[in-house]
Point group: C2
Chain length 186, copies 2
Amino acid sequence: MTRKDEILQVSARLIREKGYVGLSMRDLAKAIGVKAASLYNHIPSKQAILAEIILHLAEDFTSQIQHVAIKSISSLDKLKQIIEHHVDLSLHHPNKLALLNNEWMHLEGQSLADFKTMRNQYEEQLRQIINQGKANNELKALHTELVLFSLLSTLRNLNVWIKKRGSIPAEQLKNELHQVLLNGIS
Amino acid sequence: MTRKDEILQVSARLIREKGYVGLSMRDLAKAIGVKAASLYNHIPSKQAILAEIILHLAEDFTSQIQHVAIKSISSLDKLKQIIEHHVDLSLHHPNKLALLNNEWMHLEGQSLADFKTMRNQYEEQLRQIINQGKANNELKALHTELVLFSLLSTLRNLNVWIKKRGSIPAEQLKNELHQVLLNGIS
DNA sequence: GTCTATACCCCGATAGAC
DNA sequence: GTCTATCGGGGTATAGAC
């Protein structure tokens, strides 16, 4: 792992704990074992750390949902694959996902604009999949925005839950999530 | 409204936008129309602002769920009343709720400990209601922790959704939420 | 209850030696 | 690539006049 990767990884963990504004470059440097000035040989600014972490993940989500959207499968299967991708990323990059969810408002300039664009794209793709499912009678005729919101709320919180509940096998988590999110609890 | 109430209200809005660490007492004072030093005639510290807002709301949630838990009604009706309380608070105190969800980690000392205690109490009460529902065959035999997590994820994000989606009648929102959360979407 | 002035501290970032 | 030293700015909070 390069020093830059180390900086990004440690930053993700510390920003998750202290928030972007709450983490100082001096604290970050201390956690890595160098002086603050040395960080600037690997990254141009504190802001660039946040942008690189968040935009990289946002691009991953965006390309995955576009890939799923054009498949010739049922809307329910599309939703299942989207859920599974959230589970996989939540298991492998929990800290970086936390930044995507909670620190994006500290992005600035073009990074912030790009993030918002990708976020809207993602929600729009998911909205269309839900509406397809309703048209095919795979999904109940519920308020699309509320279904979208409920799904995303749970998926975006997966990393919190995984951190608290400890290790549950990925496959079991996916199966149970499909049931809870798609079939209901009562 | 007293000046102190004004400080709490404006603080909630600005902390929601900038984060607790990102909001300075100078910015807060400017938004209210006084100088920063004047704030300290009404509140003892910046930290006390955060603690008062969050702990007040946390006490509200805790007392409500304890009140519901001991009622002689079905588990499903208990869940409905809990959902409705989240909707009501999300509509009336969206900014303060955002702090409860996103800024609690910046609490310090006893305030942080008290918050965590109330949070655990709330989750434990909800866990028991879910388990009762499973025992009564009102709820499916799903992983309790996953049901708890999915419910709370959606309820805790209500204020985000309400802010983005604009005004939907409270009664309609409650009805649709009951369907989505309790009956499933497929 | 609000003000000005200020104490004391930490911030992000850069310059330049090694 | 890391260091020391430092610049310029902004942070919370207090003292004391009005």
